[in-house]
């Protein structure tokens, strides 16, 4: 299997504290790759490093074989890297479908003269973009919310809206930062299904999540972080039985999953 993302010796310090510490791993094409670890293990920092929101103190990240150090988030979006956020980052000043249309941005006509004078087939292009965005909303199960104001939607719906927006960029690798956080069990089940659907559509998924049931059931490969370092990695089966993981982190939760 080819590697979509390779991380080598990645380190991020905040005022002397190493949030991510010489981390290395590889995400294979087509996989559902989960990153777990206690709060403060550096999972979100890792996402921010990969997507160019933070600059690493040391180490290198390769995406599709290309070194991506110094690239901005929008460069990376153009290369096919997209993400959602742990704390929702929805454009509350827009409708739901417009949020997804921003995700389509890099595929759309960005010429300012076309925009100002509505020329160059802008009306048609906009209509097509809206349809495409509405399809994506249907794909994540938000078909009935297309023209709702984002600000009027429920938390669970916004979580999925963010996924639709990220998918709209046309990612090769999609990073999901706690997609099930704050959701009830039935909503979590829907997210589980949605992640599988996304994966089947050919997108590689990297997932940060606390819901062990979700993670254990869905992941092809799991990376366990503790204090910014790699504790272990492998299949769910491997991670579940790793004594260090059980001791250091999972404890009774792992037992519960096993049982």
């Amino acid at each position: 299997m080819t590697a979509v993302l390779t991380v080598e010796g990645l380190t991020k310090e905040f005022g002397g504290v190493r949030a991510v510490d010489e981390l290395g791993f590889t995400i294979s094409e087509g996989a559902i790759f989960s990153i777990i670890g206690p709060n403060g293990a550096g999972k979100t920092t890792l996402f921010n490093l990969i997507t160019g929101v933070y600059t690493p103190t040391e180490g290198r990240v390769f995406f599709g074989g290309e070194f991506i150090g110094g690239k901005t988030p929008y460069n990376l979006a153009d290369m096919g890297l997209s993400r959602t956020f742990q704390n929702l980052q929805i454009f509350m000043n827009m409708t739901a479908v417009e949020n997804v249309m921003v995700g389509l941005h890099r595929h759309l006509d960005k010429r300012i003269d076309h925009a100002l004078f509505r020329i160059g087939g802008m009306a048609r292009k906009e209509r097509e973009a809206r349809e495409k965005a509405a399809e994506l909303m249907a794909f994540v199960g938000l078909g009935q919310y297309v023209n709702h104001d984002a600000a009027s939607m429920s938390y669970g719906a916004l979580k999925r809206l963010e996924i639709a927006r990220a998918l709209a960029t046309g990612p090769r690798l999609l990073l999901l930062d706690e997609p099930a956080a704050g959701l009830n069990p039935s909503e979590t089940g829907e997210i589980d299904e949605l992640i599988r659907k996304v994966s089947e559509s050919g997108v590689t998924v990297a997932l940060v999540e606390h819901d062990m049931h979700l993670v254990m059931g869905i992941s092809d490969h799991i990376l366990v972080l503790d204090y910014g370092r790699k504790l272990t990695e492998g299949t769910a089966e491997h991670v579940r039985h790793d004594p260090e993981v059980i001791a250091a982190y999972l404890g009774s939760e792992a037992a519960a999953v096993k049982g």
């Binding site: 454009f91 100002l116 990220a166």
Partner: protein, 327 residues
């Protein structure tokens, strides 16, 4: 689905108002007020793109109006240029200046952006006050009337239609822009900068673009103001003028093109109504700014439209759904 632009209805209403207004207005004094409303509204529409949609404040936009006014005045007066090329070259110059300033200025956020734009506006006004050889200094300077080939554009009756047409164009451009990928990128910058970046939006580039566009709106309005009034003074570029413009945008409603027009209308009429109490002008403007922000931070038009009808987006959605059902 219909090709109809969601906001063309408003544009039509505005056109009708502009068309019938001269037959209602009793004399040239009122025509003059109407023209000044239009000129202010054009600046506010541009400023609203920056403040209301992209969420970037500018407290120095009167500086661009002033540059537009003086640019036209100097090019036509000192160099004998025809008015239209002078206006265009001035706008180009202002665009370039805004472009050069925008990158460092818009890297700043919040209070620091506000102060930087304020400083920028005041420097422009100091230059206009000081370079008396070109600008006539604090006394201002007379401006040549606009010549259109052999025809002299003169008087309220003519200028009314020119400004009216320009206002309609400005509204149309703004509505088009907002409902385009560029416009959504601007709104995304306001909504969440980090999310916009992750969606592939180069946020810096879009901030620069909208800054330049809003400066050009201001410049063109300033050029027209100069020719219409036949006179320019550094007052046109003063700090208080910048604040007036922001007040118009804020009162009318941020992130609403028609709000900018409504804000400009109310606050252009108000000083005329208060003319006998000229000293109260500052106080009243300050009070309006504070009260609007405290009690109605969304501004008049968005607040009222939310109150008096269901969300316009939903109405549009229904009509779209019906259209879809028919095909």
């Amino acid at each position: 689905m219909t090709l109809k632009h969601p906001s063309t209805g408003g544009l039509l209403i505005l056109a009708v108002i502009i068309a019938i207004l001269p037959s209602i207005l009793p004399n040239n004094f009122y025509m003059d007020v109407a023209i000044r409303i239009g000129l202010n509204a054009i600046v506010c529409i541009g400023l609203n793109l920056l403040i209301g949609y992209a969420g970037q404040i500018s407290l120095g936009h009167a500086g661009f109006v002033g540059l537009g006014a003086y640019g036209s005045a100097i090019l036509t007066g000192e160099f004998g240029w025809p008015a239209i090329p002078a206006m265009l070259v001035t706008a180009l110059f202002v665009a370039l200046l805004a472009f050069v300033l925008a990158r460092p200025v818009l890297r700043l956020k919040g209070h620091f952006l506000a102060m930087a734009t304020l400083g920028m506006g005041i420097i422009i006004s100091i230059v206009l006050n000081t370079e008396a050889r070109w600008t006539g200094g604090p006394d201002g300077m007379a401006v040549q009337p606009m010549m259109f080939f052999e025809y002299m554009v003169f008087g309220e009756a003519v200028w009314y239609w020119i400004v009216g047409a320009a206002l309609l164009i400005a509204v149309w451009l703004s509505l088009n822009l907002i409902d385009s990928p560029v416009g959504r990128a601007l709104r995304a910058v306001h909504g969440s900068e980090v999310a916009a970046e992750v969606c592939g939006v180069n946020t810096t580039q879009y901030k620069v673009k909208v800054f330049v566009i809003s400066a050009v709106f201001a410049s063109v309005s300033g050029s027209m103001l100069a020719h219409y009034g036949a006179f320019v003074s550094p007052e046109d570029a003063s700090f208080f003028r910048s604040i007036e413009l922001v007040t118009m945008v804020v009162l009318g409603g941020m992130a609403s093109t028609y709000g900018a027009v409504v804000g400009a209308t109310i606050l252009t009429i108000l000083p005329q109504a208060l003319a006998r109490f000229e000293d109260l002008e500052h106080m009243v403007f300050g009070l309006i700014l504070m009260l609007t922000m405290i009690f109605m931070p969304k501004g008049l038009v968005p607040t009222l439209s939310a109150k008096f009808r269901r969300s316009p987006v939903k109405v549009e959605a229904e009509s779209e759904a019906q259209g879809g059902g028919a095909t």
